[in-house]
Symmetry: C2
Subunit: 98 residues, 2 copies
DNA sequence: AGGGAATATACGCTTATGCGCATAAACGCA
DNA sequence: TGCGTTTATGCGCATAAGCGTATATTCCCT
């Protein structure tokens, strides 16, 4: 099993990490919202979410024409802890103009 | 700045994570030791260490014909915390035979 | 049934990553 | 200086990752 590498690789992409940051509020977010807020195209965002889902970090739920993503429930504590640590790193998108 | 992604990507490779695990004892380890203990070729290990060094996770020191690597000193707490969390994930190489 | 919205996916392309092999570079020692 | 040891690196290759475009798919609503 190489779950550790999968998870780390999933987090090692700026847009995916940004998506995780949004999803980590515990609420559901549709792809359309994520792509808008992160400035990503539809297919790009969809695929990134697929990676996060495959890594076990998020789950999705079909709701009419939308697919709602949210933080995976019952996430192993090690994993949750890792994600928290990743989110604690300085966020490039939060940079203050000089 | 995309340091976060760099660090996560650096950790997202099994051999590199295993190297970090060894180096996280705070001691110095030469490439020859790492390659032996991790079963990697020389060039492979050297390059992996280069990636870790570039990510700022380790430092190297020339000692005669050896290059001693060790955990980077004064690592930002966020980063140290992240690495600790990554090392806390179940380790594939520590698997117990069934 | 038909149309529009939201999402996933197949395809092709470009770039990045990881690797082995061979070679260079740095060093100690005789 | 020449040799052995250790480490880094140039080169080429194979594979993976990421992306855009276009197309399917799923669902609601009329």
């Amino acid at each position: 099993m190489k779950a550790a590498s999968n998870i780390l690789a999933a987090l090692a992409e700026p847009t995916r990490l940004a998506a995780i940051r949004l999803l980590w509020d515990g609420q559901e977010h549709c792809v359309c919202e994520l792509m808008q807020r992160l400035g990503a195209t539809q297919s790009r965002m969809s695929r990134h979410m697929g990676v996060l889902k495959l890594a076990g970090l998020v789950t999705d739920r079909r709701d009419a024409q939308w697919v709602r993503y949210r933080r995976a429930p019952h996430l192993p504590h090690h994993v949750a802890h890792l994600v928290d640590a990743a989110l604690a790193l300085p966020d490039p998108s939060n940079r203050i103009a000089a």
